[in-house]
Symmetry: C2
Subunit: 239 residues, 2 copies
């Protein structure tokens, strides 16, 4: 159980020996969003929100509590779709997701409390990475993930919401295939493939295995930019 | 290098000892689509296609060769979007993807040849699974994956296009979280999370590591239905 003010880097460093894990050069630690949000005290009380006119209208449209809608609006750049039980938004962090990633399950505080995403997940990842690197003297990567729904297919996937020290995309454009042809589908979202892999290991009740230790990531660690994963709005034919 | 007529189950059984792998109960084998397509001789010659009026128009709109467009049309239920260099379609197998999953890189036959997706990937997966189970006397799962682009985010992800013996979705609805609340975001696309994980290990030049051996999949193997991953068209707000 993670509580506001807990230091996740310390928690990891304290827990590693109990799991018989020694951090190696090039390892990656993947964190479930929820424990980062809890450590950063991103709790908000639903019933005490000041409700805007927009929130009142969207509450009627979706059947969700006005206070929760207000929190979603506050966390979003834009409401993309609204329907019964669901708001699809562009989060202020730039990605498209349901209900601004605000969660009411497993908050540990009951029905009137919601947990927002971390203020700046890539900055959180960087803080954790730098502290662990300093203590272990190994270069590592840190990724923070959340479960996202998607268009066209059922079921959620774990996807990246912040990273530090890990490449977001690997661009193979210009590389030749075995026939000497230029490779076509060539930019791979390796951070999201890693996020999905870690999510599979965590399972859904994400506080039970909220941190995954990755060894053997097949690409060089370095300066990844989370924003590289975000498709430019104007070139997105599904917005 | 896989050639038309090759038996992928035999190929796996032959290769396992060289990799010092012994198949265990509950293991999963993940195959890159391309080697399944090659084994099933899904090659088509572009210049010999009979071009429909629709293909001529879409070729002008996209700048792609009319023969390739014709192959894409033949493999699709519906053209969803067309723009310079890109067709987004509903594939006859039910999923939304670019260019009907038809690939011209690494075909081994040069520019005039394209490789279609397998005729029925879940049936291919089942054939491979049953043959390997018979020889090893272990229950396994088989997943066939391909790289897919997506709305909203850059970069491709490995996703499932067929499976056998592996659950597609795990539905946690009705399960309680640690506070006794009902879990909300509760249907996880575990087959796609596994596909993404395997894709990360394969890398992009998918004939170099076209098969990934998975141990420790956290859910019970059994009767998965690929179609469970496909969102109903009428309830898809992003079509």
């Amino acid at each position: 159980m993670v509580n506001p003010g807990d230091d996740l880097a310390d928690l990891v460093l304290f827990s590693l020996p109990m799991s018989n894990i020694e951090i190696d050069q090039g390892d990656i630690l993947v964190f479930a969003q929820k424990i980062v949000s809890k450590a950063e005290n991103r709790y908000r009380q639903i019933s005490t929100q000041e409700i805007s006119r927009e929130a009142t209208a969207l509450a009627q449209q979706t059947g969700k509590p006005p206070g929760l809608i207000q929190l979603i609006i506050n966390e979003s750049n834009e409401i993309i779709r609204a329907q019964e039980g669901l708001l699809i938004v562009e989060h202020r962090l730039g990605f498209v997701c349901a209900n601004a990633g605000i969660d009411q399950s497993n908050t540990g505080r009951g029905d009137d409390w919601a947990l927002l995403l971390p203020e700046n997940p890539s900055q959180s990842a960087r803080g954790i990475r730098e502290k662990i690197e300093k203590k272990t003297r190994k270069n590592i990567g840190v990724v923070i993930i959340d479960s996202h729904g998607r268009s066209w297919r059922n079921g959620t996937l774990g996807l990246t919401i912040g990273l530090s020290g890990v490449p977001a995309l690997i661009d193979f454009r210009g590389k030749q295939d075995m026939d000497g042809r230029i490779l076509r589908l060539t930019t791979v979202a390796v951070a999201d493939e890693l996020a999905a892999a870690a999510s599979l290991v965590m399972g859904p009740a994400d506080e039970q295995k909220p941190i995954v230790h990755v060894r053997g990531f097949p690409y060089k660690l370095g300066k990844g930019q989370f924003e590289d994963l975000l498709r430019n709005k104007d070139s997105d034919i599904f917005r």
